[in-house]
């Protein structure tokens, strides 16, 4: 987990459900397999929602954690 190369960053700060997952999915479509998307959100519901989204889409959630009132996700495109 040491050196994760972030391909792109998406800021969903200030957005509530369902926009973080909607925008994340849209951003993922533009990436290539193996790329990593960093997504930042402020919606506390984004943690369970992103976990559910990853399970449904099959993309790999490398990280989901709170950092100073913000939520940071790293998602690897798997297909």
């Amino acid at each position: 987990m040491a050196d994760i190369q972030i391909t792109e960053t998406l800021d969903c700060s200030g957005l509530l459900c369902p926009m973080p997952v909607v925008k994340t999915n849209k951003a993922m479509k533009k990436l290539n397999v193996g790329d990593v998307l960093e997504m930042i959100a402020t919606d506390p519901g984004s943690i369970p929602d992103m976990e559910a989204w990853a399970k449904q889409t099959g993309h790999e959630l490398l990280e989901a954690k709170e950092e100073g009132g913000k939520y940071r996700f790293l998602i690897k495109k798997t297909h």
Partner: protein, 170 residues
């Protein structure tokens, strides 16, 4: 889930057209779309106007005693204002005010507008089916609706819903 797996499917009946009730079908449809599900919404009865080119959904506190009323700004922001809804909702202009306040509050909190969610649904190829029978009864024409709307009946919806993983009546 890989592309070749069968996609999950969500079928929704949207039967209510007030601003508050317009949210659940569009939120669920776009969330499902974001998970690459196949989605269809069948707009019937009072839900049908949600397909109109120009949306004008409103919300009324009448008969809605659980509706929290907080001012979205100013010194009253932190205070719950119980609305004596039976009396106030008969005051001319009160419904417009309630609608404007709800829109303002939602925007401030970061909730997308119904227009934005509907545009998103269109972009995700969510099937938006207008109920033909409701059109006939209330006098709507296909041209009243956004171009992406298709027209169908109960059988059209059921044919899609027959293979749905989740089916909701809202």
């Amino acid at each position: 889930m890989s592309e070749q797996d069968k996609r999950r499917r969500l079928a929704i009946i949207a039967s209510k057209g007030s601003l508050d009730w317009a949210y659940p079908p569009f939120i669920l449809a776009t969330a499902a779309g974001a998970m690459d599900w196949e989605v269809a919404i069948f707009f019937t009865f009072y839900g049908l106007p949600l397909l109109k080119k120009k949306l004008d959904a409103a919300v009324s506190p009448l008969g809605n005693p659980a509706m929290p009323m907080k001012m979205p700004f100013g010194p009253l922001e932190k205070i719950d204002l119980p609305i004596p809804n039976l009396i106030m909702s008969t005051v001319p202009g009160f419904q417009q005010m309630t609608t404007a306040l709800m829109k303002k509050t939602f925007k401030k909190k970061g909730v997308a507008s119904i227009e934005e969610l509907r545009d998103m649904a269109v972009e995700m190829d969510v099937r938006l089916i207008g109920c033909q029978m409701t059109m006939d009864v209330f006098g709507f024409k296909k041209e009243d609706f956004i171009d992406e709307a298709e027209i169908g009946g109960a059988a059209t919806f059921l044919e899609f819903a027959a293979d749905a993983n989740v089916t909701l009546f809202i």
